[in-house]
Amino acid sequence: MDTISSEKKTIEQVLAENGAYIGPTVGVSMLPLLKTRRDTIVVKPKTERLQRLDVALYRRGDAYVLHRVLQPIEGGYIIRGDNCYSDEKVPENAVIGVLTEFFRKGKHVYCTDKRYIRYANRRIKTYKIRRFFVILKSKAKAAVKKIIGRK
């Protein structure tokens, strides 16, 4: 066996030492693709400018965020999680890595896989309609709450 280490390192350290970060995902922002603490991501260091559909790993303060690039812009990217409803402008220097493959429900998927690329495109294309229904659902909930509150 090479190593067993439970020493806590930053992802930047792991990327520099191992050339890849392989670990669990945490959070709901990349649903339905990645489920928290179930799926495993493989992130490699960013070596070139990311493209539309790439999933970037970046620093937001002390936290790490894994979201999809919608559009490369000057000095950075417009980024949004697959399960998020607002965009974020992320500077180039905050991006430390890119998702290259992942294990979803135990199945190994490469980000070059055609089915995966179709999913990623579809997720972006259906954004407006999904957002419409999310807003509608939230308004309907608020209305129901108001009606119940009156009684």
Binding site: M1, S6, P24, V42, F103, H108
Partner: protein, 87 residues
């Protein structure tokens, strides 16, 4: 000896890496790299087995003498015990 539940072995670029899943991923943040023998033993000890059974399994899987296999299994057992990976 049996390895705790909550770890999965992922093969990435021909390398075996153990990562935590579920509740265990809240407390364990490391990445465990395994060589071929390590990956074999990890999978073997996900079920309850003794050191002797591990030695026999390793000898059955690879062309290795018992003495060398025992050294490997005992070293593996020591590391996973020290790191709290066994039940």
């Amino acid at each position: 000896m049996k390895i705790k539940k909550g770890f999965v072995v992922r093969v990435v670029g021909g390398e075996s890496v153990v990562v935590p899943v579920g509740e265990l991923s809240k407390t364990f943040h490391g990445m465990i790299n395994l060589n071929e023998t390590g990956a074999f033993l990890w999978n073997f000890f996900t079920e309850e087995h003794t050191i002797d059974e591990g030695v026999a399994a390793l000898c059955g899987e690879y062309e290795v003498d018992e003495e060398r296999a025992r050294v490997d299994v005992e070293k593996f057992a020591e590391i996973i015990t020290q790191n709290g990976f066994i039940e």
